[in-house]
């Protein structure tokens, strides 16, 4: 019973949900960004799994889009952390609970 | 001359910086690998930049001046070797000079020439050692230092043959020198002095144009002319800041007026200038040595010194151009053979006072180099 697509889909679903739980429940901004990364990676895993079991893998669609996804995720992480720095410098705390008010 | 942009430090306040990261207090402790001997710097660092610096020394204080008030004048001559243990001869000469001011003793010609030869040899030893330690602080893992030590060994062997010991020479007496150089000594000294410029060229190709040293040492630890004079710096540090003040030219003590030599003057007063000024001074010392050995007269080496050295009451201040700066001895005698007051004016102690001013605003790595460029020897700083 070789590896089938189901294995990978279930795994990426579980990982996605773990990421989502983390994002929703943790109060530390950086941990939230980390969970975001976990969710994105779960999606990548899905993409590659579908490409691997697709009918004509030589078209290279899977790796192509994963490459783009990784590039975007990296930029997003960089920007996210820059914003975290700005928030920390302004509010002197990075606890999500206390950062509520939009204006000063 | 490209404008020297001294890097203005971000902020001088002590305490939290804008990112809220607190100030790091680091004690570059007594036995830190790069402090020359037992010397501590209490640094306050903001990230990498030095915000405050407090030099702490006294670890090597041996109570030299108080002991000197218990023993007779000639008995404290061997103690002067222990002041700046790298150049024993110049310490002896400074003490002898001030003692000879207390009692007028005619120093014979041959002794004067030997004193000049021996002092210039110590200047060579001190300067090439300093450059070795300075580049070692820059990180060059000891290669230039070991070349310097190799040259120093030759000169120390000369001292050993002449005075019996390599560093604790105790060679110069009031009114002359202790013993005559044995016959082979002058030929050997001539050979070493002739071979020295070759070593200096090799040292210069290794160090002066090295881009990394230029990048690390230029515009670091800048001391302007006025600041140098206000801090009463002396010696190569003063001349690197552009002040033309060399005691050999100013006082014309001994027979320095007979030799023609130049005094190198730096333009920027930063670490690189101090390093270059010492390099050029070594070449001038070789020039003096050549002239001194050439016309060394015959004759006896000891003036008519009284058996018991009992000067009339009074005071005297003798100073010479030691390799590190102006080394002075201030003696007050009250008619007995024992000095009433024996005060040493060490050059590296006075130069050290400028350390804090030079290091503020620079990085930790620069603070280490600035300390290296001041050329302190703790025996002299703590006395």
């Amino acid at each position: 019973m070789g590896l089938t697509l189901h294995h990978f889909l279930i795994l990426s679903a579980i990982l996605f949900s773990i990421g989502l739980v983390g994002a929703l429940t943790r109060r530390h901004i950086i941990i939230m960004l980390i969970c975001l990364e976990i969710m994105l990676n779960a999606a990548n895993l899905n993409l590659i799994a579908f490409w691997h079991f697709s009918s004509n893998p030589l078209l290279m669609h899977g790796p192509l889009f994963t490459l783009f996804a990784i590039a975007i995720a990296a930029t997003e992480a960089a920007l996210g952390l820059a914003l975290v720095l700005a928030i920390f410098r302004h509010y002197k705390t990075i606890d999500l609970e206390s950062i509520r008010d939009l204006k000063e | 001359m490209s404008p020297v942009q001294t890097m203005p430090p971000r902020s001088y306040h002590i305490g939290k910086d804008d990112l809220g990261a607190d100030i790091l207090e680091v004690a570059m402790g007594p036995h830190h690998p790069s402090t020359h001997g037992v010397f501590r710097m209490d640094l306050k660092l903001d990230g990498e930049t030095v915000v405050d610096l407090k030099p702490v020394f006294g670890y090597l204080h041996r109570n030299h001046e108080k002991i000197a008030e218990d023993i007779t004048y000639p008995m404290s001559m061997p103690f002067t070797d222990r002041l700046d243990y790298l150049c024993g001869m110049t310490n002896n000469w400074a003490y002898a000079l001030s003692a000879e001011k207390l009692i007028e003793i005619k120093v014979p010609e041959r002794a004067e020439y030997i004193r000049v030869i021996v002092a210039e040899l110590t200047r060579l030893v001190n300067h090439c050692l300093l450059i070795g330690f300075f580049v070692n602080d820059l990180g060059a893992l000891g290669t230039p230092l070991l070349y310097a030590l190799r040259e120093r060994e030759k000169i120390l062997d000369l001292f050993e043959v002449l005075s019996g010991a390599r560093m604790m020479v105790n060679y110069i007496r009031f009114g002359g020198v202790r013993c005559d150089p044995p016959d082979g000594w002058l030929k050997e000294c001539q050979r070493i002095v002739d071979a020295f410029p070759a070593f200096l060229d090799e040292y210069e190709t290794l160090l002066t144009e090295n881009e990394i040293i230029i990048a690390r040492a230029q515009n670091v630890g800048v001391v302007t002319r006025e600041e140098a004079i206000n801090f009463s710096l002396t010696g190569p540090m003063l001349r690197a800041s552009g002040v033309n003040y060399d005691i050999r030219k100013v006082d014309r003590y001994g027979i320095y007026d007979r030799f023609d030599f130049k005094v190198p003057i730096g333009g920027h007063g930063d670490c690189y200038d101090r390093f270059m000024v010492r390099m050029l001074e070594m070449r001038q010392s070789v020039k003096i040595l050549k002239q001194a050995i050439r016309d060394l007269p015959e004759g006896e080496i000891m003036g008519k010194a009284p058996k018991i050295f009992r000067p009339a009451p009074g005071e005297a201040y003798g100073r010479i151009e030691a390799p590190k700066g102006e080394l002075g001895f201030y003696l007050i005698s009250d008619g007995t053979p024992i000095p009433y007051r024996f005060k040493v004016r060490p050059p590296s102690f006075v130069n050290l006072t400028a350390l804090r001013h030079m290091c503020l605003g620079h990085k930790v790595a620069d603070a280490v180099i600035i300390l290296g460029s001041i050329d302190i020897v703790l025996g002299e700083v703590d006395r």
Binding site: - | E160, V161, L162, G164, N170, E211
Partner: protein, 213 residues
């Protein structure tokens, strides 16, 4: 327009030169492998003092007359002399105890300069370490005494000078004694003059640090 890394390359050239020359040029590899090969000690180097004696019997051939000049001239005060007395209390001109604490001595050679009788000289042996910290480095008279032959062996030039000086002094003393005897004989022939008592010039003794017994 200089190549960017020219200074660094020239520096590397110097180290390369040193690397290769250290294989064939002696001057580039001056290290001495200490325990196997020893560097020659030059005859002028000095380390710790030792006492000289002529002839073969150390005690009575000793030149030192316990005049304690060197004890007073020693800056760290590390020499300790007690004069010798024979059985009926008359002082003999030689030290019963002559100790040098080599852990205190800083080998400054002042004692050699001061000594009028050429009795103390500087040795150049430097392997002196021993396991006993206190008594080990305190050398008493027996350990300090060394024959004149040993002195000739370690400092040949200096030893010869000292011997010539001693010989000249002895000859001078001989001539003076002969002259005195001649004068005495002459005076004994024509009525002996009253003996004048010559008092040695009194010297104000420099303040003596009290020796801790």
């Amino acid at each position: 327009m200089s190549l960017i890394g020219k200074g660094i390359l020239k520096g590397m050239g110097v180290t390369a030169k040193n690397f290769f020359q250290s294989y064939y040029r002696k001057e580039r590899l001056p290290t001495v492998e200490y325990p196997e090969e020893k560097a020659t000690i030059n005859q002028f180097s000095r380390n710790f003092p030792f006492l000289l004696y002529d002839g073969d019997d150390p005690v009575d051939g000793m030149r030192c007359t316990a005049c304690t000049l060197c004890e007073r001239a020693c800056p760290p005060q590390c020499i300790y002399i007690i004069k010798d007395k024979d059985e009926n209390g008359k002082a003999i001109l030689s030290p019963r105890i002559f100790d040098i604490d080599t852990s205190v001595c800083m080998s400054c050679q002042l004692c050699v300069e001061v000594c009028p009788y050429e009795a103390i000289r500087m040795d150049s042996a430097f392997e002196l370490s021993n396991e006993n910290r206190f008594e080990g480095l305190l050398l008493n008279r027996e350990e300090l005494l060394k024959p004149n032959a040993y002195y000739h062996e370690i400092h040949p030039l200096e030893a010869r000078e000292t011997d010539d000086r001693m010989a000249a002094k002895a000859a001078l003393a001989e001539a003076k004694k002969k002259a005195r005897q001649k004068r005495a004989r002459l005076a004994a022939k024509n009525k002996p003059p009253p003996g004048l008592k010559k008092t040695p010039p009194t010297r104000k003794k420099p303040p003596q640090r009290e020796k801790s017994e």
